[in-house]
Amino acid sequence: MTTEELKNLTVAKSVDARGTACPGPLLEAKKAIGTIQSGEILEVLSADEGTKNDLPKWCNKQGNEFLGMVEENGYYKLYLKKK
């Protein structure tokens, strides 16, 4: 997905995990994924560099689809679709 496409996604829920380092963003994602429906999009905000690699791996394991990420000023917006 291109950055433009990612920015135009309809997000069902957004979690701000910028206040936690590894493995905080994963824990936040796990908590949030339970609150959305299958096929809906979850947005995770993280300032932790490792999340860029960790979240796709987490999605892979969970069967969720990692859609991509957008780099903002000092943090990342990561998008995933619940299976």
Binding site: T20, A21, C22, P23, L26, L27, K61
Partner: protein
């Protein structure tokens, strides 16, 4: 064609039964999506590493079972709890070992307690979960903690002085071996 090479329904069914049995056998021997860690060390950095990896695994829906033994047991002590009726050696162990995960030393650069203090400040600054928060998250994620009974007896620790943790049990080495045997990942820290 010889008769023995003929494919009959009976032969097919027999072969199918054979395959079914083999599949069940394989399924039973397959490793579970489970992480078993024997935590032997009682150093702050090592307990932290163990907890961080465990939390990441649990977030990925991997079942996590931690087996605390030897110096690792000190991390499970509750600083607010005291028990009576200990003998001299047990009291000595109780005095010498850190009282809970908040009082652990660093394995390197401890500098009489300066190290852990600096580390805790740094962790706060970098938004790393404190050990206290890590144990709370672990409880929420259903991470199991087992305290080694033999080392508890050896060092004179009683179950009454350990932290209140929802998935806590006391067991022996065989429990760890059995758990580790069915886990896809087995580590020791």
């Amino acid at each position: 064609m010889e008769k023995s090479n003929e494919i009959t329904m009976e032969k097919l069914l027999a072969e199918l039964e054979n395959l079914k049995a083999k599949t069940t056998q394989l399924e039973n021997s397959a490793k579970k999506d489970q992480l078993s860690i024997a935590i032997i060390s009682g150093d702050m950095d090592k307990i932290m590493a163990g907890m961080i990896i465990s939390l990441a695994a649990a977030a990925m829906d991997t079942k996590v079972k931690l087996f605390f033994s030897f110096w690792g047991l000190a991390a499970l002590r509750d600083p607010k709890k005291t028990v009576k009726g200990k003998n001299f050696v047990s009291k000595m162990f109780g005095c010498m070992l850190p009282k809970g995960y908040g009082k652990l030393k660093l394995s390197k650069h401890n500098m009489c307690g300066m190290g852990p203090m600096m580390m805790k400040n740094l962790m706060k600054k970098q938004h790393v979960l404190s050990l206290d928060e890590m144990f709370k998250e672990a409880a929420e994620l259903g991470i199991e903690i087992t305290a080694c009974e033999m080392t508890m007896n050896l060092m004179g620790f009683k179950k009454e002085e350990f932290i209140d943790y929802p998935h806590f049990r006391i067991a022996g080495a065989a429990t760890f071996v059995a758990d580790a045997g069915e886990s896809a990942m087995q580590w020791m820290i």
